[in-house]
Amino acid sequence: MDITDLISSDAIIPTLRAPSKKQALQELARKAGELTGIEAREIFDVLLERERLGTTGVGHGIAIPHGKLAKLDRLYGVFARMEHPIDFDSIDDEPVDLLFLLLAPESAGADHLKALARVSRLLRDRTVCTKLRGCESRDAIYALFTDTTASHAA
């Protein structure tokens, strides 16, 4: 599975402004709502429900919020780069500046887990993260995803 199968160029927010975790998640949900046609509120609730189980801030400034929605027809990804890092209640208490949202339909099964694993593996790569942090534009970020898709294929 490729990152570019999950995310389109218009699902990338190159500089997101939000003061808190809650508002950042709301912005991501809004963007996902635009893409999927589902109520942003509903998406936000799903994300919040997942965060209640335990933070998706996995450390080193990265968060991978995710959840499942019955009405979806396929997997959707949204990527955001924060203008200013925010407190995300992360595992290492460090502020977060790279967020990758992944939404899956109710019965995505193995595809959902595989996609999540793919995102997680990509963002573990320190050089990829450094490059993402240096990208100013949507196109540059998308190009990077296309690029890593080729080199990370396993």
């Binding site: 995710h66 595992i91 290492d92 887990l113 573990r124």
Partner: protein, 596 residues
């Protein structure tokens, strides 16, 4: 000058040199015990020291005393958690495992080198027991963290297989001594008697020592001496009864280590030092005893034995003993590699010498070379091997900075002095809201040398010195209040910790919904920690993984027996370097796919 003074001078110089080289060896990563052995050889007849020491009976006497101390100390450190997690696999390794190791080595020696069965078996028995040296290497020095159950198993095995190795060796020496005898039921009966009685005496002796120490009022410095004397007494008494004194002493240490004993910490610290001294003396002595020029005569045989031991016998024994307990192949491969040989094989090789068996000297020389090969190759490569096989876990959260004060008489609580760490629970919560467990009580807080009034204290600061009364069973929980919290030590999650981490108190149903795994009817409404604890049983430990549908849940963090944090791995355990290498090599064979 008196001769006695000279002996004291030489002895003390050797011990001093050993201690100083230990600093050096930890810096270059050389196996410590190998440097002691080398130092002994340097001081010996062929080295610049030129000391001639050739007294096998005296060596056995000194060796026995040293082993008693080492085994008692090993038992003393064996806490309940380790015992609970590892007794079954460790027992398999130290009985069946030793037999298989000895048998495979003997077979290899018999077929490949054409030695007769009896001497082949003796050789196998001599090199069959692993050494507590493995524990030395694993316990901190190398900085490797292993899955709890694997570490516990290796730790316990290294101590408990010595009695078995000794039994086998002495049995083989006996067989060679009496040519007409054939091994049969007599040997089995003897085994049951030795281990049965040895075990019983050890347990009873431990209980007696605990009772004695707790009842007698004496100068604190005498308690450790009492323990040493009691251990030596139990050892010799059991041996005279024809049972295994080594087993008795090991179990005795275990009983004492797990009961509340007055001056328990003092005894523990004393034995820590004594065990060091025993290791140093044992290795120095064995280094002195060997004639290096003779080692060269035996090297082809010795290298063949070492090869058979390391590459065939140990892996076979480990595979046989550990597969039934659900250890992965990587863990088994690592356990096979940790089969370090130490002083015991060389010491055991003295027994044929004492019994006056033909060619007895050659056993000694072979055992010596095998130990050197094992320590040098396996000992040195251990940390590297752990990473290569992917069994090394990320280091534990930083330990609490504490001083255990010895329990007072008639008090069922320990007095512990903590220095509060930054990012600890104690600094993150207001003092009034700290919610210490019941019966854990803060007595005094010292900040920069001043005693603070507890009712005026708003919040503890990093660096505060806190005196706490803690029931012994809650000491691990109390530690967590004053040491760094898991979250602030985690950094980015490492691959072996999974992709996400949740608290153990999370409901399993919530996770099951998101990660799409089935929940059994009897598990509904339980926490993840409870479900995992059920699945893993009392042996649950850090690093254990259980598959649920498409994900694996991993025990990432525990307090005592309670599972605190759980990792969720989305795509199985991280590949070992071996698999990565295979995948990398595979690239060259794979035809280029179109469209890439």
């Amino acid at each position: 000058m008196e001769a006695g003074t000279l002996v004291i001078l030489i002895g003390s110089v050797l011990v001093l040199a050993s201690i100083l080289t230990s600093l050096l060896s930890s810096r270059i990563g050389a196996p410590l015990l190998l440097t002691f052995l080398g130092l002994g050889m340097l001081a010996g007849e062929a080295g610049p020291g030129g000391i001639r020491f050739d007294d096998a009976p005296l060596a056995i006497l000194i060796g026995n005393c040293a082993l008693v101390i080492i085994l008692f100390d090993g038992g003393l450190r064996m806490d309940k958690a380790t015992l609970r997690a590892a007794w079954a696999p460790a027992l398999a390794l130290s009985t069946l495992g030793v037999l298989v190791t000895a048998g495979v080595v003997a077979a290899a020696v018999h077929w490949a080198l054409g030695k007769d069965w009896q001497s082949a078996l003796l050789l196998g028995a001599i090199v069959a027991a692993t050494d507590a040296a493995a524990v030395f290497v694993l316990a901190g020095r190398s900085g490797i963290t292993l899955r709890d159950r694997l570490r516990a198993t290796l730790e316990m095995e290294s101590g408990s297989n010595d009695p078995m190795g000794i039994f086998l060796t002495i049995a083989c020496v006996g067989l060679i001594g009496h040519e007409h005898q054939t091994p049969g039921w007599g040997l089995v009966v003897d085994f049951v008697w030795q281990m049965g009685l040895g075990g019983a005496v050890g347990l009873a002796g431990g209980a007696a020592l605990v009772g004695l120490v707790n009842r007698m009022e004496m100068s604190a410095g005498l308690y450790p001496i009492l323990a040493v004397a009691a251990a030596l007494f139990t050892f010799s008494g059991t041996q005279l009864l024809g049972a295994s004194g080594w087993l008795a002493v090991y179990l005795m240490g275990m009983v004492v280590g797990n009961r509340r004993v007055r001056a328990g910490r003092l005894v523990g610290r004393f034995f820590d030092g004594m065990a060091w001294l025993s290791q140093i003396v044992l290795f120095l002595m064995l280094g002195l005893l060997v004639a290096p020029q003779q080692l060269l005569d035996e090297w082809p045989t010795a290298v063949a034995v070492a090869g058979a031991l390391i590459l065939l016998a140990r892996p076979a024994a480990v595979a046989l003993c550990l597969s039934p307990f659900g250890f992965s192949w990587r863990e088994q491969a690592f356990a096979a590699w940790v089969g370090l040989r130490g002083a015991v094989p060389i010491f055991l090789a003295l027994f044929p010498l004492l019994a006056g068996i033909d060619n007895a000297r050659s056993y000694f020389n072979i055992a010596f070379v095998v130990v050197i090969v094992s320590l040098a190759i396996q000992g040195w490569s251990l940390p590297w091997m752990a990473r290569w096989l992917g069994v090394a876990l990320s280091p534990r959260p930083e330990e609490a900075d504490k001083v255990d004060l010895d329990a007072m008489r008639n008090l069922d609580r320990d007095l512990i002095a903590y220095t509060v760490k930054p990012h600890s629970r104690a600094t993150d919560f207001a003092f009034a809201k700290l919610a210490l467990p019941p019966r854990v009580q803060i007595l005094t807080v010292l900040r920069e040398g001043t005693v603070l009034k507890l009712d005026e204290l708003d919040r503890l600061h990093a660096g505060d010195f806190v005196l706490v009364l803690v029931p012994p069973e809650l000491s691990l929980v109390a530690d967590r209040f004053f040491s760094r919290r898991f979250r602030s030590t985690a950094g980015q999650l490492r691959r072996e910790q999974g992709d996400f981490v949740v608290d153990g108190a999370t409901a399993i149903d919530g996770l099951a919904k998101i990660y799409e795994f089935p929940v059994r009817p009897d598990q509904h409404g339980l926490t993840v920690a409870a479900v995992l604890a059920k699945r893993l049983g009392p042996a649950a430990g850090r690093g254990d993984r259980v598959r649920f549908g498409g994900v694996e849940l991993i025990v990432v963090d525990m307090i005592g027996a309670e599972i605190k944090h759980i990792g969720i791995a989305l795509d199985g355990p991280p590949p070992s370097r071996l698999q990565t290498l295979g995948r990398w090599l595979g690239r060259f064979r794979r035809p280029a796919r179109p469209g890439r």
